[in-house]
Symmetry: C2
């Protein structure tokens, strides 16, 4: 069976690594000539809007999926006329616009931060008394890893913020005074089977995820499962879905969802009975889903821009290294490491060594 | 870093899958045009004795290894003049001849079955009163998976057995009345670091491994570690090494060793903190070795000739499927499945379902 993937970055790479033992072949479409998933299949180099390439991809694949949520919707619809594409276009369509996304979530009784659409500096100024400070101004479309986001602390920030987003349609969101940031990941198969992963607790810096820690048996697990369950059903979703959440007391407030495998689920490779990548593939080719039980104490640390010395890293005996075969570059996610231990003491020791190493090589 | 592998079968495939997250690239040399590891790197198609191809391989690789023990020794020596080859030639040289191998083991005080070299029917007849019945006649060289082996139950079997081995130089071995067959796998790095895996208990049928079960904390573990330790040191070994053993009471009797990753260690992919494949690669490129702790109750079932229905297999929630992307063919190892559970009851249930499924599709 041949799987087509739009995008050939690290998520596509990890999907392909998970898919090889299932006997799957991969064809990637990505305009970047040097793409890190390419070594695991065939790489079609060209624009995502190149109809001839898309037709070629659709003809040669049994199922198509994607590794990023900014795929133009018309491409998915074009491909879908010939070959099934999962996750469904609806998830992309809703997720690509922050206003549509938040409205959709609210309609499902999933709480979000207060928000308002703004398309001019005047509208922003008018919105602020309702939203209050601090707040965040985000472009409605095409944001990720904190890109296209500006923090607003007072009326003095509004003009420069509006210049920073270059007059793009935006959403202004009230700041959520959260205690923790978490995410829940779930997979739903063509047959409708659903599995949930334990919550991940996520630490960001400069808008980029740094450390994600599995928190099985968290008191908020079942609440989070209910939220993502209603989302999966409302989207008639197929594949792996991630929902980012703020924890405020005993309440979960949705930040955003990602219709794909997610960075906060990379620890599932070693830390779960079945990884988010394998379950994404099983879901879209309609195989039974794998168990999502966590194996011990588990966490993942991203390496941004640069990688610490590999011998030093691997001298942590329960560390698992994932190099993406990407060149070092400021602010770029180029690798991660997972830890899995059966002792909380060893885990805490190893995490503190690992985060120090990551900080020492960080170039973000 | 580029790793060259002689052979592009399933062992090379699993090595490459383990090596990708370490950022390794692979070049395989294998005469078979369709080889199942080829999709994970570059495949040089040609004879193992093709000097031009070997030179090309050596030039383009940082380190070379192999997936089968019948590599002609002169090839390793030729490659080694340009690029380091691990495991060392000595391990191959000794392992390729059953007489040399058993003598070497005995010299290390590692007990074997009684044996005698025989190179004619007359010598076989002369040996039998000392060896006794039942016994096994094996070709000295080029045997694997029970190939080139004949069981001898009485003097009446000798003539036909000698015809079956086609007059090849042989060893006749006394039969060991074992209670269990086990193996121990260990890895030793360029720097001399050694790690041991827990014993695997192995069930064979028609000379082919069927089921391998991890048996951590077995009473014979430390005895097995001592045996493989002396072998690793005596061979100045680098890489992953497997030693097959018979258990007779509280004694371990060596059958043979394999200077490579081994089928009885496939359960280490999910069942160990670090797999035998990853530790083989770490060992030969001189990285620290990974922890070998077992994760729960673990076993591996081979699929011979054919594969059971995949949906049925994957409906066992803690089953991990490894398809080698090889065409079904009588007697051919084409896939395996691992089980990993944290409950002995679930494990036993799942194993019995799995072995029944394997038996139902078996074509050996």
């Amino acid at each position: 069976m041949v799987i087509g993937i739009l995008g050939a970055g690290q998520l596509a790479r990890m999907l392909a690594l998970a898919g090889k033992p299932l006997g799957l072949q991969f064809i990637f479409l990505d305009p970047t000539p040097i793409a890190c998933a390419a070594e695991l299949g065939e790489h079609l180099i060209g624009d995502y809007t190149d109809k001839a390439l898309l037709t070629d991809l659709a003809k040669r694949c049994d199922i198509i999926t994607y590794e990023f949520e900014n795929v133009p919707l018309e491409i998915i619809e074009f491909l879908n006329q010939q070959t099934p594409v999962y996750p469904p276009a609806k998830a992309l369509e809703i997720g690509q616009d922050r206003i549509t996304e938040k409205t959709f979530l609210n309609d499902l009784a999933i709480e979000t931060a207060p928000f308002q659409a703004v398309s001019s500096l005047t509208e922003l100024e008018t919105a602020m008394p309702t939203i209050g400070y601090p707040a965040i101004l985000k472009t409605r479309r095409l944001g990720y890893d904190g890109k296209g986001q500006v923090v607003l602390n007072s009326n003095d920030d509004l003009t420069s913020a509006w210049q920073a987003v270059k007059n793009a349609p935006c959403v202004v969101e009230g700041f959520v005074a959260f205690q923790r940031e978490v995410s829940i990941i779930a997979s739903r198969s063509v047959a409708g089977e659903i599995v949930y992963y334990p919550l991940s607790e996520n630490q960001h810096e400069k808008g980029i995820l740094r450390l994600a820690t599995a928190i099985p048996n968290d008191a908020l697990q079942s609440q989070a499962e209910q939220l993502i369950h209603s989302l999966l059903i409302a989207l008639d979703y197929v594949g792996t879905l991630a929902l980012e959440l703020f924890v405020v007391g005993d309440k979960l407030i949705a930040n955003e969802f990602a219709p794909r495998v997610h960075n906060s689920g990379h620890w599932t490779i070693e830390g779960s009975e079945t990884s988010q990548f394998e379950n994404h593939l099983r879901a879209i080719i309609d195989l039974p889903l794998g168990d999502t039980k966590t194996l011990g104490y588990v966490a993942m640390q991203n390496f941004i821009g640069n990688i610490p010395d590999i011998k030093t890293l691997l001298s942590i005996p329960q560390l698992h290294l994932h190099l993406y075969n990407k060149a070092p570059r400021k602010g770029r996610k180029i690798a991660h490491a997972s830890l899995r231990t059966d002792s909380l003491m060893h885990f805490n020791d190893a995490i503190s060594t690992l985060t120090e190493l990551a900080a020492s090589s960080d170039d973000s």
